[in-house]
Symmetry: C2
């Protein structure tokens, strides 16, 4: 089997570290692995498949000889290095939002549009975490009934703000638990423990945040539904690393609850957890540190207008894994499978 | 000014204790105050307006001579004692769900349908907490555009499960903060700290919980809109005592964002907190232990079908105060004002 030289750009962050673990778990065919990060992290040793790998500073020369780059860095770092990597012949699977809406760049959720990987031009974008989680849950139902509209309220975990977000929530809970004052927030604009923050990203003129608009903009591109209408409210909640979403769907054609459950039970990447009588439904604690999207609370939308077709559901997924690292490694595996 | 003999039924619970505080804050004209609870709590001393009041066991005779009963007990206790109180000539403002949908019993949010108090027959019901909070926010917009449909996702605080719910969440956070194991949950079906539980109340055959159906059933009655369609997803979140709700509204007529903000700014019981540029929006920490419903994130529903009229908003309110005790005391004040 052919083996590949792989680099992780932003290897020391929450997503980069998870990518490393996913590469190992998914037995990715690696010849040589480079871990790239800021100068500050250079020299650190990280364990991979039983060996120590030394973190290198990300510089242009670092991409020489690399086949596949997994990008786990912020937009500014991605914009700085991804074009360099492309010039040097690497293919980058990039988790930043810098290239997601570029018409020249496929945006891929392997369970939804794996075929788009083939038309890459050196860059494939990894979608927003809340978008990936929603689409893995919703696409099987779209295939049954044709989705027209989604109304989504998210319950997003601290890990969306990286390791700093996780540490801050932990420290706040410890302070509250010990009866100590909660210090000034840094990773978030406000205290997150015992609170909810209805803002993720900056606001546009219409009053939507950048995170809220991703679900419509990226959803349209991934599902090849340019007319899809999405109204999203994104809320940060005091949960560690799994996002949850309350989703109301409007379909072109009728989708019964039974047909929806069947489609979800058979769908790749989905675990149907929907047995109300036994108090079984998705919860973010249960989806922590695994790759499946749990979907449940599937029911008819009783508010749908007569003659229209609606369903409501609730889903949870690990934000660092399927929301970021796992999805990127799955894309890299599709690349390898396609040669 | 005439003074009234008042009893609180269920005086030692979270809502009962808050009723006591609201009576004092709102300078309710009290001649004599009785605090009624289970035999287990009888004999406890509670401070009210600088004096100690001894808790009595709730028995039929306890209602003799009482004018107004504030009911803060569960359904079974309410069903046991509210009819007795009515026979003895008391008027009960009851916070349980036992009488809310009884056609003979007004269900009142003073900011929405104060006129319904007058047609009471010895019982006035206090609505569900999430319903009160949503309707205070939504009614001013209904007056502008006529509401047809609401799609609601709730973020409900631990206090909805009473003092036991609050203590359990505190204990779980302390355990997590100290690196100790989180014990078995009792107040909730699952661990709430760092988690979300998408179930409040029991499930019906269609897959909705009792809490979810309250918003439609009680909302229709309070707003006198028998055709109102509501699709609700109720989720317990690790927040202490303020509920938050993400609400998408469909109107008969156009309601601009500007008109909506004007209506909300002028509405009783509402504080408009909607200045995204300065990161001002409602958060449950900020609405803790006060009586206003904070409303913000007001924006056009960009997923509304062409020709239809939609808005999205986010609101927060203290579940124990306006969601229960404050609303009940406000109803009692309307009773007094109407003689």
């Amino acid at each position: 089997m052919k083996q590949y030289n792989v680099a992780i750009l932003g290897a020391t962050g929450a997503v980069g570290q998870q990518m490393l673990q996913c590469l190992e778990e998914q037995e990715f065919p690696i010849a040589n692995l480079k871990l790239l990060a800021s100068a500050r992290s250079a020299g650190k040793r990280v364990s991979f498949a039983g060996e120590d790998v030394v973190v290198e500073e990300a510089r242009d020369e670092a991409f020489d000889g690399v086949d596949i780059v997994l990008g786990a860095a912020e937009n500014d770092i991605a914009k700085r290095f991804v074009p360099v990597a492309r010039e040097k012949g690497c293919v980058t699977v990039d988790n930043s939002s810098a290239y997601r809406l570029d018409p020249d760049v496929p945006l891929v959720v392997p369970e939804v549009n794996p075929e788009d990987v083939a038309r890459h031009n050196g860059i494939i974008a990894n979608p927003n975490c809340a978008t990936i989680i929603a689409l893995v849950a919703v696409n099987p139902l779209h295939k049954v009934g044709g989705i027209k509209r989604m109304i989504v309220s998210t319950y997003q975990a601290a890990s969306g703000a990286g390791i700093g977000g996780l540490r801050e929530l932990e420290a706040q809970m410890a302070a509250i638990g010990a009866g100590q004052p909660v210090g000034d927030p840094k990773a978030f604009a406000y205290q997150l423990a015992c609170n909810l923050i209805p803002q993720i990203g900056g606001f546009d003129a219409a009053g939507y945040t950048s995170e809220e608009m991703k679900l419509q903009n990226e959803g349209r591109k991934i599902m090849h539904l340019p007319e899809l209408r999405v109204n999203c409210t994104c809320v940060r909640v005091p949960v560690m690393r799994s996002h949850s979403e309350s989703i109301t769907l409007e379909f072109e054609r009728e989708v019964s609850v039974e047909a929806a459950r069947e489609a979800l039970a058979a769908a790749p990447g989905v675990k149907l957890v929907d047995d109300p009588a036994n108090l079984a439904y998705p919860m973010p604690l249960d989806t922590t540190d695994q790759d499946l999207i749990y979907v449940g609370r599937v029911r008819e939308d009783i508010s749908a207008a007569p003659g229209s077709h609606g369903l409501a559901l609730w889903c949870c997924g690990d934000q660092i894994r399927k929301g970021a690292a796992t999805n990127a490694v799955q894309i890299a595996k599709l690349l390898v499978a396609q040669g």
